[in-house]
Structure formats: structure tokens, C-alpha cells
Amino acid sequence: MSELTQESRRNFMKLFAVAGGGLVLGFNSTSSIASGLGLIDGSNLPAAAIDFNSYLSISPENIITILSPNPELGQNIKTSFPMIVAEELDADWTKVKVVQAPLDTNKFERQVTGGSGAVPHSWERLRKAGATARQMLMEAAAKRWNVSANSLSTENGMVVHATSDRKLSYGELAIEASKLPVPTDVKLKDNKDFKLIGTAVRNVDNHEMITGKPLYGLDVYKEGMLFAVIQRPEAFGMKLKSVDAAKAKALPGIVDVVTFGNNVAVVGKSTWQVMKARKELKIAYEPDEALESSADHDRLFKELLNSPEATVRRKDGDVEAAFKNAAKVIKSEYQCPFLSHSPMEPMNFFAHVRPDGVELAGPTQTPQRARDMVAKLLDIAPEKITLELTRLGGGFGRRLSADYVLEAAELSSIIKAPVKVIWSREDDMSGGTYRPAVRYRFEAALDAKGNMIGYKLRGVGINSGNPTREDNFPSGAVENLLIDSVEHKSPITTGPWRAPITNFLAFAEQAFLDEVAQAAKKDPVQFRLELLDKAKKTPVGEIKYDIDRMRGVIELASEKSNWGKKKGVHQGFSVYFSHRSYVAQVAEVKLVKSVPVVEKVYAAADCGIVVNLSGAYQQVRGGIVDGLGHAMYSKLSFKDGAVEQKNFNNYRLIRLKEVPEIDVHFVNNGIDPTGLGEPALPPTGGAVANAIFKATGKRLRNQPFMEQPELKGGKVI
């Protein structure tokens, strides 16, 4: 049996008490999405069902409904969360209905999608939810048959008394079971008894997605709803000076043009009408702050790298002495551009601010934060705000920010009408919370035997916060180490972008370690393993990564890729720890007419127990495609505060023909899940750049690769 902490048990019981005692509750979704087309999902839910706890209800008709509280943006949480409950319940998966829960801070906690944290955070809680209900159902059957609960078992949604060959479905027992006291100490399954966890289960929304049912924020259409687009300043650092909206207002379908803050909102009766009328606005802006260009940032990076005033993030030993005594010093700089999140569904939100409360609906990774910020903005109690969570057409961190929710709420409060604010793709790309542009300088000191005796990293970035992860590998394995950073504050807004900071830091670090291994005349894999050995035997300072887990993925990736033993291909290695999980990758590059072509990527991932094999496999593959695509092609640059790429015609995303074969393997170590939404992305750039070096002798140190002189005319298929 798994250990539960006192705190998690208390939280669980608190959640349980909300609906304890067999509350009869109809799961009537309040959604009126695309009126006449049905509900978001779960449209055929039973009218009345017995609520066992916050996650689970069972109807007398034997329909098991599992609520999925966290925002679904493609990380497959809406399938994997219910699988965990259903596993411990021993439910018949084919009879399980999954429903997206709205924001409910009484029933759920951490209704957030971010940090690859949902499954690690809720693992025990969800298992207990299923196991507790299962035990109550068994108790109910024991009472009815007048036998001991110990003589009963469960399978596939039935309680079974093997001795008398009797069976009852959970539905038949639901009412009686719900009246029983809630057990406080239930036994969880041994991992080896999992039937559902670890199998490939198809996405619960497949049917809705492949038939075009309304699921997403942009699919929200409500009674009396108006449509709006907002013209925001075209450059970061500009503010609104004056607006002439006369021509726009006169166009058909336009209800109003409203100014608030630096925003000019065109409100009307259809999307196209407001998009068209927006073009007729005559707006003047004036500078409010510096209007920065990418050329300014390049110059700034050089200054900041030499700035005497840096924030020290980690310091071990005497780094100056180590470099003075070094037999060899390796020094390199790496740089990445800003990136847009560009989820396929642009930002949007619905808001209806009424005197008695607020209705919000749409795609957000942080519904509670969005609600609380709206409450503060409008000065009303959070309890008076409902937030209906739609499926998210991607997020990648962009929807952690609530700016677009606040805009919709503010606009609705001004026009006193229900309104959906739609961002065009150009709005989405030019009004982002971007992955910050960052430059790193790495320095390594080797002794005469090729041991790394000193390591320095300075990270400088534009609104990057701390662009280092000072306690990550190789910290702990080097006696003399200094990691520091300098940040430039800019009007350009930045924010978390899938695998924040590590999405580029991992590339830079893993490519640099390759350079050091080469200088030390060591095999890159062997070099890393030696460092890990050192960290294990003679740790320097605090070590915050798991040496054995990192070693595990290194060894698995080496084995599966036949590292170092293949002829005719050039292999590059990379390994990274992020968000509690470990992923090693080997990229294989071939020279085709002297052009490097990425043919295959092997991945070995340790995310603990894999919940849904289908979803997990695709998380790794998708993460690699994401990491490869942005390393190769994507760049957002600025001229006088304005983005220079506003749509997919010049902001390049990876396409189908450009993805290599990807071979995914999981470490099977039985530890509780540690998250998989992000960790597969960071290692990819390094593995690919290191393989390209092997193939061509050219080091790629800046992204996107395709714009570097080393790869002009190069291509990836």
C-alpha cells in the first residue's frame, strides 16, 4: 500500500466531505456552446447520478462519470486523469464517461496546466478517489449478500462473490454504497496489478474532435453574444494617443468602438464585420518607453556578458584558481531569439459581466488565476464569477497569462453585453508573452588529464528572470563552479514557454558539454557518465537531480541507438533533467550530397510510471518535433518595438515533411509519475546540433539553425 501524507489525506477527506453522504447531483453542463449543436461533451449524461466524491459519480444505470478538473490543451490529461480513478475503481473503461469540470475551488485544487505537474500532483488523490468508492461498493455488496467484504473482489465494474458465483454491477450498488460511511484507510493496488494504467487508451474526445463538435473557446456562441477584436499598440513601448473611429462605426454590423487603456475594441455582430471595420480605425500612438529592436538586444547581450554586476546563482570552490591552473580552457557563446507560443487556436475569451455576477468561458491554463484577477479588476467577489473551461487549442504556456481574459471582462463591463473577444493570428503573434531572447557564455577548465576542474556559466536575457538552472547537471560534478546572470528589463512582454528557460538552456549546455568532451578527447556519453560518477562519489555542494535516473536514461538511449557503433550515420547525444523527469536523446544525421539531414531521433524517457502509453508516446514525439522545429526554423525579431513576423507566412513552424523518424523508449522503474508535458523538448536541439557537428565539423551555437552561416542551404527532412 502506498503511503499517504497526513496533508494529502486531510485534503482528500475535505474534498470528500463536500459531497459525502450520497448527494444526488445532476451534471448538467452549463455550456450553451454553439446553441443547438449540443454541449461541450458528455451530452448524454444521466439526469441523476450518485456523487461519490469530487471526481466520481455512478448512476443506477451503471454509467460511471469521472470529472476531469484540469485544463486540457493536448497533454492528454482529460484521458489520463480518469484512467487513474478508473484503475483503482476497477471500472469498465467502456462505461466511463469523462466530463470536463468547470472551475470549482471548493471541489478541486490546482486546476492548472503548467509545469508538467498535473499527474505528479494528483496521482495519490485520484487513486484514493477510485479506491475509496470501490471499497464502499464492496461494503454495500457485502451487506446485501450478508457476507464478509473480505470474501469479495471486483472486476470490470462488478463486485464479485466468487464462492457463490454472484455478481452485481456498480450501478446496482451505487445508492446503497453512497449511504455508507466513507472509509478512511483504503488499500491501493500494487503496481503489478494495474490493468488500465500503462496501456494505450485512446483520447476520450476523439469522436468529438474528428466530427467537428464545438469544444474550444472560439466555438463558444451564446445568446445575444457580440463579437469583438481589439487593436492594441503595434509596438511594445507605445501608448495610445488618439482614435478616430467614425468610419469604422459606420460600417454594417458594427455596434460600438470602445477605448480602454491602450486598447481600441471594435464590437459588432459577427467576426468578419469587426475584423473588417478594425482596418478603418485611424489611431495615433506615441512612445511611452524605449522602442527596442533586435539589433539593440544583440549589442546589449555583449555588454551584459561583461557586466561586473551579475546575480550569483551558484558558487562552488575557487573557480578563478581552477581557470588559472587549467591545462586547457574552452569558451563558447550560445544565443536564441524570442519565440511566439502560436497555439493553433489564437487567444480568445467570452465574458458576460452582469450586475449580479460574471460569466466567463474559454481556454485558459490557469482558470483560478484568471477568475481572481477578473474579480480584482471589476471589484467583485470571486464567488460571483463562474468560469467554464473549454478545451484549449494548444497553450504552450501562453494561456498561463490572463491578459486576454481580463480584456474580455473589461470590455463586457463597459458595453454591458456578453462578448467574445477574438485575437487574429497577427494579434496573437504581435501581442505575446514570448520566450525571452537569451545569450549564454560557457567556460570550462580542463586539467592535463582532461578532467573538468572548472565551469562557468553566465546567462543574460531580455525579461528572462534567471535564465540559468544553477542546480542542474553538471553542478555537483565540478569542484569549482560559478553560475551567474544578468537581466535586461524591456517593454517586450515575456513569459513561460513550454519548458521555460530549459527549452534553450538545455541545447546550449548539452552542445557545450559536447565541445568540452571533444577537447578532452572523450566520448560524449562516457564524458557525461564520468561526471555523474563524480557527482555520486564526491558530490560538490547540493545535488538536486537524481543521478541514478539520469544515468538510467543515458544508458537506455545509448543501448537503443547502438551509440557509437553505427556506420554511415553521425550520432549526437543529449540528456536533460527538467520538471522532475529525465530524457536522453540520440539524433542521427546523414550527409546527403554534403547536406546534413536529420534522419532519426531516439528518446529514452524516465517519467516514472507511464499512465497512458498512447498519450505518453505522443508527448515525447510531439515534444521532440516541437524542440526540433523551433531550434531549426522559428524566430521572432523586433524593429522599433514591433514584431517583424506576424503570421505563419514568415514565422516558420515545422511541417510534416520536416520531421524525422522518432523512436521512443520509457524506463520502467515503477516510481510514481513525475510528469511528461515538457521534459522531452529540451534535449532535442543539443542532440541534433551535436550530430550535425559530427557530420560536418561545424558547431551550431545560435538558433534558429537554418539562419546560421554554418547551415546555409542546409535542410532537414
Partner: protein, 153 residues
């Protein structure tokens, strides 16, 4: 504003919109057919793909005035029960992550298979390369198109 008679998914609709309104927004705002998605508005991503007289078409740049005499199929009209071979293949391969681009992917794949029942891997790649999937489900898209081809009658 003008009135247009549209043939969509075997049904007749009448809408009163401006002539330059893209078919995409007529489908979504006027007819409630929201399976067709807005992604870029400039025919770069393929999320809005529908069939016009059997051909894959980007509805975000296709004005309603041009659609008046055409036979239009959207994701909602691909099959009654969601059991078109391409839809079945998409489910079986478990293609979707966020799912937002997938209706457009399915419509592009279906248009390909309507013309070429046994596409080669290269022909699949060429046909599908115009549709962006930001989640990176490309491997499964390839696999699903090939699987769908085996399911065609």
C-alpha cells in the same frame, strides 16, 4: 449585404452577409458549423480546410460570393455517424493532441484519398505538408492517412 444560397453537406442554406465574407466565418458565425477552424486567416495553416466541389479549399480566404454555386463539404458532413474511413483511422491511430487542427487535417487527407486511393508515402507527405499541427502529431497523421487508404471501399 447580399443573400447567398449555399449547398453544404447536402443541405441548402440561405445567408445574408457581405460578399467578401470568407466562407469560414459564414460556416462558423452564421450556420453554427464550428468544426471548421480559424488558424491564420491567410491560407498558411490549413485549419480551415473544407471541400469545394471535392477539392480541398482554405475557407478563410474563400469569399462566400464564390461559393454560391458550389457543393461544399465540411467536417460535419463527412459522414453521418463519424465513421468515414479517414475519421475511423484518426481514432484508431489516436492522432489528436489538442485536436484544433485535426478537422482541417482530415479534410485535406480525405480530398487526397478521393482522388488517389493508393497514395505513396511521398504523395501523403506532399498532400499533408500544407497543414500545420503545432502539437507535432505529424507521425500519426502520416500513419492515419495510410491506414485510411486501406479502409476505403
Amino acid at each position: 449585404m447580399a443573400t447567398y444560397k449555399l449547398q453544404i453537406n447536402g443541405r441548402s442554406y440561405e445567408v445574408d452577409v457581405e460578399p467578401d465574407t470568407p466562407l469560414l466565418w459564414v460556416l462558423r458565425d452564421n450556420l453554427g458549423l464550428v468544426g471548421t477552424k480559424y488558424g491564420c486567416g491567410i491560407a498558411q495553416c490549413g485549419a480551415c480546410t473544407v471541400h469545394v466541389n471535392g477539392n480541398a479549399m482554405r475557407s478563410c480566404v474563400y469569399p462566400v460570393s464564390a461559393a454560391a454555386s458550389a457543393k461544399i463539404t465540411t467536417i460535419e458532413g463527412l459522414s453521418e455517424a463519424g465513421d468515414h474511413p479517414v475519421q475511423l483511422a484518426w481514432d484508431e491511430v489516436d492522432v489528436a493532441q489538442c485536436g484544433y487542427c485535426q478537422a482541417g487535417q482530415i479534410m485535406t487527407a480525405t480530398a487526397l484519398l478521393n482522388k488517389n486511393q493508393k497514395p505513396t508515402a511521398e504523395e501523403i507527405d506532399n498532400a499533408m505538408n500544407g497543414n500545420i499541427c503545432r502539437c507535432g502529431t505529424y507521425h500519426r497523421i502520416r500513419e492515419a492517412v495510410a491506414l485510411a487508404a486501406t479502409k476505403l471501399k
